[in-house]
Symmetry: C2
Subunit: 200 residues, 2 copies
């Protein structure tokens, strides 16, 4: 697009930096933002700055938190004998929404991906090993995406934990709820077959 | 989605209010915003507040502007004998990008749409009539979307301007550049036929 001298250009340029926001969406957002009250925009601006300034990582599980210890690690109602290993903080919130798990978490901080410069040393695996030595867990659950990088990370984790004495499990792979066999990809069907469960 | 106590919830709630941003995109934006530097977020927050606080409407054409008179009305290189009537400020920037028109604009401020409570009196038609009386224009061009509300607005405008002595024109309707006849909707084809131009 040609450069037009609009008073909204600085705002549009900033909005364009957001993921998934192109020139057209940024313009739409900018026109929306000047159509709402100044107060509403101030609330958004304040919450942006406040969140970014005060956010930190929980010193225990590396979840995002405003406090030194996140709401999960500091809660008394969590089962402290279960540990779930996830790649990123957002995975915690996805698992929490499912309301199925009530233990603690450990955030690795990404996936092993040498092409992107992320090596095993970049992840919080050392902190995990230390945590497993210090605390007792009845079960360690690996909950990492099944992607190329995710599978590499899981494989590496398994090799690191092979001498751990207590059970280690991994989220089940198979058909998602509501799936139709006809429309399911081959890799998922392979996983669903190899992980089939006895019913009788 | 169930309510989860995330430190990002206040930010996600604010981002959800933006047009076209749902719960999932808002979460993605929030995680992006805490991954960039505090300084970058402050730049965004400042430009948001600054733009919203200082934006006003040009007193002459009602384009958005930081000054009392917008950059088009205050420019010496514009042809002040041509007036283009548009519905919203964003239409000005679309037309400016086309780099085909060098006259002045008049922003109506919306479309006639009684269902949404927008009546002819809500638009800046009175200001337009006054402007046409005070200044001399060789041509008045109506550049309003061809939608139900747009067509109603154009029709109303035409009736208001029927006694205006100088030429009044309207943007051409027809096939967009690159269109294939096979994929063009019936209304556009009807317009393209009825507006066909003599070549010999």
């Amino acid at each position: 697009m040609a450069e037009i001298k609009s008073p909204l250009t600085p705002l549009i340029d900033q909005l364009c930096k957001l993921p998934g926001v192109g020139a057209k969406s940024a313009q739409r957002l900018a026109f929306h933002l000047i159509s709402v009250t100044t107060q509403e925009v101030e609330v958004l601006a304040n919450v942006l700055t406040k969140t970014r300034t005060h956010i930190k990582y929980c010193k225990s599980c590396f979840n995002i938190s405003f406090e030194t210890t996140c709401f999960i690690c500091s809660s008394n109602s969590r089962d402290k004998t279960q540990l779930c290993i996830v790649a990123e903080p957002k995975d915690i919130y996805a698992l929490e929404r499912a309301n199925e798990y009530n233990g603690l978490y450990h955030v690795l901080g990404g996936y092993i991906s040498p092409l992107d410069g992320v090596y095993p040393e970049s992840l919080r695996i050392e902190e995990l090993i230390l945590k497993l030595k210090k605390s007792h867990f009845n079960e360690v659950i690996i909950a990492i995406n099944s992607s190329i990088e995710g599978d590499a990370t899981t494989l590496y984790l398994k090799s690191c934990l092979k001498n751990y004495k207590n059970p280690i499990s991994q989220l089940a792979y198979g058909l998602p709820v509501g799936a139709e066999l006809d429309y399911t990809d081959e890799s998922t069907l392979q996983k669903a077959f190899s992980g089939r469960q006895k019913v009788k």
